[in-house]
């Protein structure tokens, strides 16, 4: 197990292993997203109060979950980079940040579109919405900070520290609806209780959430591979690989 993790830390090994993994995750992501979208948008029943506008949940909730998972993943990768100086962790953190920012934006945007017919407003400064907006700014800050240094190593370290500190916001987002009174309703899904919606509604949502996760993993693998090639372009194995591909092609 430890040997495997150590090998994974080497860019060359990661490049080889991810080559075998990524087609599976891409296939799974496409399949799950396709099934989930059609099931959620066409076959799932509408809500007794909101009618069809409730179907925004099938995009809104997975995006919001992913936005937070990405941030935690990015922060963990940041700690691994700061403490153990494993380059691959920093490469992963670098490619996750834009994706997480995009997911946060999707969650905010779909929430606004949903809020208009349901609440009667696009936006209120309640704790849930505001903390999510702060998370978007944290993502943008991490991306900007990484690019703001002349040396890549300083940029990576600064971005890792900001990601780590920004994790404080995650429990605030999660519990904002319980700690304060907000316009946003409390969570429909918790690990400890039965979901507050029937099975024919939450099953497609589960498929969508899994699909989003697979998409996230697949995209991160692919983009980390590109990042490896970019950063290690002076290494012998990369030059041989590129030369080999060129000769074959």
């Amino acid at each position: 197990m430890w040997a495997f993790i150590h090998k994974l830390g080497s860019p060359k090994w990661f490049y080889a292993i991810s080559a075998r993994l990524q087609p599976w995750f891409w296939a799974l992501a496409i399949l799950l997203l396709l099934v989930g979208s059609v099931w959620g948008l066409v076959f799932a029943p509408s809500d007794y109060q909101q009618g069809n506008s409730f179907r925004i949940i099938y995009v809104h909730v997975p995006a919001a979950i992913l936005a937070q998972s990405c941030f935690v993943t990015m922060a963990v990768a940041g700690v691994i980079f700061l403490v153990w100086k494993i380059k691959i962790a920093d490469m992963a953190a670098a490619v996750i940040a834009p994706f997480g920012a995009a997911m946060t934006f999707v969650a905010l945007f779909s929430g606004a579109v949903w809020g208009m017919p349901t609440w009667g407003t696009w936006w209120v400064w309640d704790a849930r919405l505001t903390s999510m907006l702060i998370q978007l700014f944290l993502y943008l800050g991490v991306i900007a900070l990484r690019g703001a240094f002349a040396s890549r190593d300083s940029g990576s370290r600064a971005a890792s520290v900001l990601a780590l500190v920004g994790v404080v916001n995650i429990p605030i987002i999660k519990y904002s609806v319980d700690w304060w009174n907000t316009l946003h309703q409390p969570a429909t899904f918790t690990l400890t209780e039965r979901p507050a919606m029937p099975v024919e509604m939450w099953l497609p949502l589960l498929v969508m959430v899994l699909g989003f996760y697979c998409f996230f993993i697949a995209l991160t693998l692919t983009r980390t591979r590109n990042e490896i090639l970019r950063r290690e372009s002076a290494k012998r194995w990369v030059r041989e690989l590129v030369a080999g591909t060129a000769r074959r092609g």
Partner: protein, 147 residues
């Protein structure tokens, strides 16, 4: 773990802990300001300022909605089932506004228990169900558990 890595891990964890404490204290000191709205109970206790833009939230009391037939004026009572707050509003109500439903009202308190609203937002709860299920449940249960 070699000492250097251990030291770095400690610094990193210390940094995270400090940040958490700083944010935690800030939120704790701000906690009353972060609440989006005053509850009817808080207003009854006189915690909400008069003649200033505030938000109040609660349930629309069953049978309290009165619409003016000539205009868009509407009055209703926002309640937490113990304290009541009367609200006057003129305008279009959101689709989800109905009796027994949660609302957040933006406006000014004119007197202790009367609010002049400029905006009414509907609050949705975390329960979703298909219309058929809702109908069945409506028959079996008192309405307040449904909302």
């Amino acid at each position: 773990m070699n000492p250097k890595r251990k030291q770095r891990l400690m610094i990193v964890l210390g940094l995270a802990a400090l940040a958490a404490i700083a944010v935690g204290l800030t939120l704790y000191s701000l906690s009353s300001n972060i609440n989006l709205f005053f509850s009817p109970e808080q207003i009854a206790k006189g915690e909400a300022p008069l003649e200033r833009q505030i938000r109040a939230g609660g349930m629309v009391k069953e049978g309290s909605v009165q619409r003016d037939s000539e205009s868009l004026d509407v009055t209703f009572v926002v309640t937490d089932y113990e304290n009541d707050l009367k609200v006057r509003y003129s305008g279009i109500l959101p689709d989800l506004f109905r009796e027994g439903q949660g609302v957040v009202v933006v406006g000014k308190l004119e007197e202790e228990r009367l609010m002049r609203a400029g905006q009414v937002l509907a609050k949705h709860d975390e329960n979703y169900m298909p219309p058929e299920v809702a109908e069945v449940m409506q028959g079996k249960m008192p309405t307040d558990t449904l909302e």
